[in-house]
């Protein structure tokens, strides 16, 4: 049986030597293509990575040489650069604005994401509209959102330049990311798993609470962290809504707030070394925060996935 079979195989191959040649040639071409692609891939990694690493190095070097207790505990004193002591007001303001905007955006975004993924039907007009608006919102330049925030929160609601106006504006900026990642992460939970839960007598709410949210959690958290690191780096919407202040934040309404990106943007352009130093330090701190958020996301997710 077996020898016979090998023989037939050889018999069919013998009359077609050109076929083997073609296969070999094709294989050579395939390998060549692969080499070219690999080369291009490595090249593009270097092109992207080199400036990034260069920048990281510059800011890390500057930041680490400039960092001091004084620069972290004293406040800025104004645009002239004379006596610019530290970033305390900007650090506290950034933390306050980011914290408050997360407080608004995270519950709202996650709950709407849950609604879209789990409760809206396939042809739910309202859900379609929410998805559309949220996608559009994600694409709107942040300076326009800032302008809108200025009109609505600062002027119309009369809150003035304030932490609340700034936080709500940033929250609107964060919302689409959180909402969409929650939506997508939940919709990825396969039907077979949903069926398994229903077959155990699970209600829809039990299934969502105990299973789907748990499975989707890495995706949801990634979306939240992404939206936070985006809003950490925003300047434009805050210019319109928080203005800037050289003092530590003291009230939520009618009280301008300082923040790090303003220092980077403004103080790097001033002709005073002291001001330039603060801009470098602020940039370093922003970068540190973004890197930390990403590290936490990665390590946290890895530990979570193991369970």
């Amino acid at each position: 049986m077996m020898p016979e079979e090998t023989e037939t195989v050889q018999q069919t191959r013998a009359p077609f030597p050109w076929r083997d040649k073609r296969i070999a040639r094709n294989n050579r071409i395939r390998k060549l293509k692969w080499r070219i692609i690999a080369f291009l891939a490595v090249l593009s990694v270097i092109v992207v990575l080199y400036p990034l690493l260069d920048m990281l190095y510059l800011f890390a070097y500057k930041g680490l040489t400039l960092i001091s207790l004084a620069r972290l505990t004293q406040t800025t004193t104004g645009g002239t650069g004379v006596g610019n002591a530290g970033l305390a007001n900007a650090i506290a303001g950034s933390a306050l604005i980011i914290g408050m905007s997360s407080l608004f955006a995270v519950p709202l975004g996650v709950l709407s994401g849950i609604y879209l993924a789990e409760f809206a039907g396939e042809r739910d007009r309202y859900a379609g509209m929410v998805r559309f608006v949220s996608d559009v919102l994600a694409g709107v330049p942040s300076i326009i959102l800032g302008y809108a925030g200025f009109f609505v929160f600062v002027l119309y609601f009369g809150w003035g330049f304030s932490a609340v106006a700034a936080s709500l504006t940033l929250a609107i900026l964060m919302l689409p990311y959180i909402l969409r990642t929650t939506d997508v992460a939940l919709r990825k939970v396969p039907d077979s798993i949903r069926e398994g839960a229903y077959a155990l007598g699970s209600s829809k709410t039990d299934m969502i609470n105990r299973l789907n949210l748990r499975i989707a959690l890495p995706g949801i958290v990634t979306g939240i962290l992404l939206s936070i690191s985006i809003s950490v780096g925003e300047t434009a919407p805050l210019l319109y809504t928080a203005s800037f202040s050289n003092y530590l934040p003291s009230a939520l309404f009618h009280s301008p707030v300082g923040y790090l990106t303003y220092v980077v943007w403004t103080y790097s352009q001033l002709p005073f070394a002291q001001a330039n130093d603060l801009a470098y330090l602020a940039a370093f701190l922003l970068m540190l925060i973004v890197v930390l958020i990403n590290l936490v996301a990665r390590v946290g997710m890895r530990r979570f996935m193991k369970i």
Binding site: V106, P107, V110, L111, I114, P190, S192, I193, E195, G196, A197, Y198, A199, L200, G201, S202, S203, T205, D206, I208, N209, R210, L211, L213, R214, I215, V221, I224, M305, K306, I307
Partner: protein, 287 residues
């Protein structure tokens, strides 16, 4: 993070299904009905997906503590039939049926039956293993948790252990209960799904081709398990594999194009089929 999760839980607190006793929804028939040999009685069942009729006038009695096999070629309606027994088809858009399905003499589609509580009595295992991508322990604990079937953690531990033992999986996983269920092999995953179904102590277990995605070794393990399970509960097994039907079935129903062609005790239906179609199917000439 934790904060909003708690919020969601408060916001989405399920209408508590488990607090009402089974008797309140008309499912606790213990004692109120003479315990007959028949646990599930299907009579005159027709089933439709939209306009398409897939089951025609099925009448069938399923006996307590036995293995009833539903066999037939692919597409003949086996899954549809088994899924009407625990009302899984309620979720399928366009599905409708008429006829009667009784569990212990009680119509399971009557208004006072809660489909959630029905599923505690009638569990299900699917064709493709569908473990939840969480820990092995939490998979088995899922049912007891949602139905609040325990008071102390130790009780839950015991439920999990017993269920895994009954599913013949305990020895293989007892040292890694916290590992993700997806790290198990296909056969182990399917036994985990069986353990998960057993954890809520169902009287009936529906199995829809539970071994058709598994290798021969895992298949025979599952078959042994089915025979074992029938000592304590009632098993309804769907298969298109005749040898399997012969090996584990006490009674066998042959379904063809949505009709029940023949129903009889296990060796008999294979050795002396009364119907021409059954004979052809059993001898492998009908596919």
């Amino acid at each position: 993070m934790v904060l909003w999760l708690k919020k969601v839980e408060l916001f989405e607190k399920a209408p508590d299904s488990s607090s009402a006793g089974l008797s309140k929804v008309g499912l606790d028939m213990e004692g109120s009905y003479p315990a007959s040999e028949v646990l599930i009685r299907i009579s005159g069942l027709n089933a439709f997906y939209g306009q398409l009729q897939v089951l025609y006038d099925i009448s069938l009695d399923i006996k307590r503590k036995s293995v009833t096999v539903i066999m037939g070629p692919s597409g003949c309606g086996k899954s549809t039939l088994i899924r009407t027994l625990n009302r899984m088809n309620d979720l399928v858009p366009g599905f409708s049926h008429n006829g009667r399905i009784e569990l212990d003499g009680k119509d399971i589609y009557s208004k006072d039956v809660d489909p959630i509580l029905l599923k505690i009595r009638v569990g299900m295992v699917f064709q493709k293993p569908n473990p939840f991508p969480i820990s092995i322990y939490e998979n088995v604990a899922f049912g007891p948790r949602i139905h609040k079937m325990f008071r102390k953690k130790e009780e839950l531990d015991r439920i999990v252990e017993n269920s895994l033992k009954r599913a013949a999986l305990w020895d293989e996983v007892k040292d890694r209960l916290q590992a993700n269920a997806m790290s198990l092999s296909g056969g182990q995953q399917q036994r985990l799904c069986i353990a998960r179904a057993l954890a809520v102590q169902p009287e009936v277990i529906l199995m829809d081709e539970p071994a058709s995605a598994l290798d021969p070794g895992s298949t025979s393990k599952i078959e042994e398990l089915i025979v074992e399970l029938a000592n304590e509960c009632t098993v309804v097994l769907v298969t298109h594999n005749m040898q399997q039907a012969a090996r584990v079935g006490n009674e066998v129903a042959f379904l063809y194009k949505g009709r029940l062609i023949e129903f009889g005790e296990s060796p008999g239906i294979f050795e002396n089929p009364r119907n021409q179609l059954t004979e052809e199917y059993v001898s492998g000439r009908l596919t």
